[in-house]
């Protein structure tokens, strides 16, 4: 789950990281009031959960409260990568002298949290990693020890930070690690961390992505979820405990198991089709869950055929068949279904579907080929 910049920065502030003074506005008038209160030039920043806000015109300076109101009026309501801007952050504009990158991420290979710093702040870290990897310095944190001062100093010296800033940097790096652990994040970054005209370090932009598996112990953070973080189909799927990811193709896929669901999408593509979604109904799904899954798939108007691939283990093929029948009896189904049921109670499942005029297949390759053909109207 992604947090907005303003949410991330407020969390950073709780962990002792200095951030600019600022407030969130939902109307141009509010933006103006905030600018008046700050009494300084401000920066108006769209709060949407995508990158590239600046390039899209979603971040602008305003010297006066009047200007703040005008700029906020331009930014509020604009669309950035398909997301409508509903909130802007009005921050005191920083007098930026230099920009640093500081981030915390789970390093899977090292099985540790890695803290990364770079003198190349203000650009995407992936870009720095690709072009000038030598400019990224990394330390790994032992979970029982936490980030130690010497490690944070190594980062500071490693990026050539002037020595008068090292002490403040160490405090910020430790604050970032503590924020990462304290919120169960999977990513926490300050980009840029700036040195301003007064010679102070300031987290001008921030981003936190939370580990969804840990939200149960952070009800306060879970409440911050922006519905725009997932599309309507994904939200509906989550309500039923399904994992659904919306894609752009024409073949709807319903599968049990994440690996098999990916492999099913891949084989659709291999035979010349495009998957419309990833959908894992999980293990042991009951008929109502299967029916919900199909409703979600069919609500996507681009879907021209549905491929159902079930390998029954804990999941029973007869239960899946009942769910399919439940869904097709209540919905206006206009697209062909290709069904492959293998494993636990497969005979009963196939018997249930025999009357339902569906295309069946025994192998996965056959099922994918038939689904691709059906989507082109070549099979009835």
């Amino acid at each position: 789950m992604k947090l907005h910049e303003y949410q991330s920065k407020r969390i950073f502030a709780k962990y002792g990281i200095p951030i600019p003074r600022g407030e969130v506005a939902t109307t141009p008038a509010e933006a103006r009031d905030i600018a008046v209160r700050l009494g300084k030039p401000v920066v108006i920043k769209s709060q949407v959960l995508v990158g590239g806000r600046g390039k899209a015109g979603g971040i602008k300076l305003a010297k006066t409260p009047d200007e703040a109101e005008q700029v906020a009026a331009q930014i509020l309501g604009m669309e950035i990568k398909g997301l409508r801007v509903k909130k802007v952050l009005v921050d005191e504009a920083a007098d930026i002298r230099s920009e640093i990158y500081l981030g915390a991420v789970l390093d899977r290979a090292a099985r540790r949290v890695a803290i990364m710093a770079s003198s190349e702040g203000g650009v995407e870290i992936e870009e720095v990693a690709a072009k000038t990897p030598e400019k990224i310095v990394k330390v790994h944190v032992h979970p029982f020890l936490g980030l130690k001062d010497y490690q944070a100093r190594n980062l500071a010296y490693g990026i050539g930070l002037p020595k008068e800033h090292v002490k403040a940097f160490v405090k910020i790096a430790k604050g970032l690690y503590n924020a990462y652990v304290g919120t169960d994040a999977s990513l926490a970054e300050i980009n840029p961390l700036v040195i301003n005209g007064e010679g102070k370090l300031l987290a001008v932009d921030g981003k936190i992505v939370l580990d969804d598996s840990a939200l149960f112990r952070h009800p306060d953070l879970a409440e911050m979820r922006d519905p725009d973080d997932e599309d309507e189909y994904e939200r509906e799927a989550r309500r039923y405990g399904l994992t659904y990811i919306h894609l752009d193709g024409e073949i709807g896929c319903m599968v049990n198991g994440a690996g098999l669901a990916m492999a099913t999408m891949d084989i659709v593509k291999l035979y010349g089709g495009e998957p419309a979604n990833f959908l894992d109904i999980g293990g042991g799904a009951q008929a109502d869950k299967v029916a919900a899954a199909l409703r979600i798939i069919l609500s996507d108007e681009r879907v021209k055929a549905v491929l159902i691939n079930i390998f029954g283990g804990i999941t029973r093929c007869d239960e899946v068949a009942r769910g399919i029948l439940e869904a097709t009896s209540t919905l206006d189904v206009r697209v062909p279904f290709v069904v492959r049921l293998v494993g636990t109670n497969e005979e009963e499942g196939r018997r249930l579907l025999a009357q339902a005029n569906m295309i069946t297949a025994t192998s996965l390759a056959e099922a994918a080929q038939k689904a691709v053909a059906a989507a082109k109207g070549e099979l009835a």
Binding site: L106, R108, F144, S186, A258, G259, L260, F278, L364
Partner: protein
């Protein structure tokens, strides 16, 4: 021969009185697994799934029954504690089925396990099966048959699909290991490849990977430099978009890292025959026999 589990396995079930735990314990016993004890705090002294004695602590269960392997079916928020309890009691092999454990909990658990002799399989995995000997997991036992092919996989049902195709052709399996779909796991491809390489009962290996992380690339380096047995590979997620978790917590392409293409290229460079779809794996395995 086989790896990790077999006739010598004396299994303890943590969370045996829960819905999942009792259901799968019955299935494991039916398959022939030697289930010697269960643990549910507060239910010590009771019996579960027929005649399996239940203990309050893993330590008591080990002392009373000499259990050497544990399987965990407890909810995610209690699983890290269950893994640590098993390790503290000296269990050699812990298999954690549970999905949804916070990643940072696993960072700590794994750091502690590295100081012990306990091996963890999973979490978020289907478990381990040595056909005809022991099933320590949730996989459908009947699709397996004993034989010379070792299987190691990050996925559950995708593995069943491959096993099913192998068995249908009369090709059996030595051991099938589900290492789990989480970003931090106890046992990696590398560890299991080494075990299969050393196992006289395994003649070739099937490796089933997916997007996310770089474990398959490190497995490829190992295969190229250390393995003498043939390896057949498959990577799921060629069509997965970047930045989205494809069901498994670990199945995500992030920062351009962990794509199916780079994994397939690494495996092919190591001499691994990589299948283009799951059923083709059985064809490639048959060719090596």
């Amino acid at each position: 021969m086989s790896i990790l589990v077999g006739k010598e396995t004396r299994l303890l079930v943590q969370g045996i009185t829960g819905r999942e735990g009792s259901f799968h314990t019955a299935q494991m016993i039916e398959y022939g697994t030697n289930v010697v004890a269960g643990v549910t705090p507060g239910k010590g002294g009771e019996w579960a799934v027929g005649n399996v004695p239940v203990f309050d602590t893993v330590k008591e269960a080990v002392e009373a029954t000499a259990a050497n392997t544990s399987i965990i079916y407890v909810p995610a928020r209690f699983s890290p504690d269950a893994i640590l309890e098993a390790a503290d009691a000296g269990i050699e092999l812990v298999v954690c089925i549970t999905e949804g454990i916070p990643a940072l909990d696993m960072v700590s658990v794994r750091a502690f396990l590295d100081t012990t002799n306990t091996r963890l399989i999973g979490p978020n995995c289907p478990g381990v099966i040595t056909p005809g000997e022991a099933k320590v997991g949730i996989m459908p036992g009947h699709i397996h048959t004993p034989g010379p092919v070792g299987i190691v996989s990050r996925s559950g049902t995708l593995t069943y699909e491959v096993v099913y195709a192998l068995t249908a052709r009369g090709i059996g399996q030595s051991t099938a290991v589900g290492i789990g779909g989480d970003p931090i796991i106890g046992t990696t491809f590398l560890d299991v490849l080494q075990m299969f390489e050393d196992d006289p009962g395994t003649e070739q290996v099937v490796l089933i990977g997916e997007i996310g992380g770089t474990d398959e690339q490190r497995a490829a380096e190992f295969i190229a430099s250390k393995m003498t047995k043939p390896v057949v590979g498959f990577i799921a997620g060629r069509t997965a978009p970047p930045g989205k978790r494809m069901g498994h917590a670990g199945a995500i392409i992030s920062g351009g890292e962990g794509t199916a293409e780079e994994k397939i290229a690494a495996l092919q460079a190591a001499g691994v025959a990589v299948a283009s779809h799951p059923e083709e794996i059985a064809d490639l395995v048959a060719r090596n026999l």
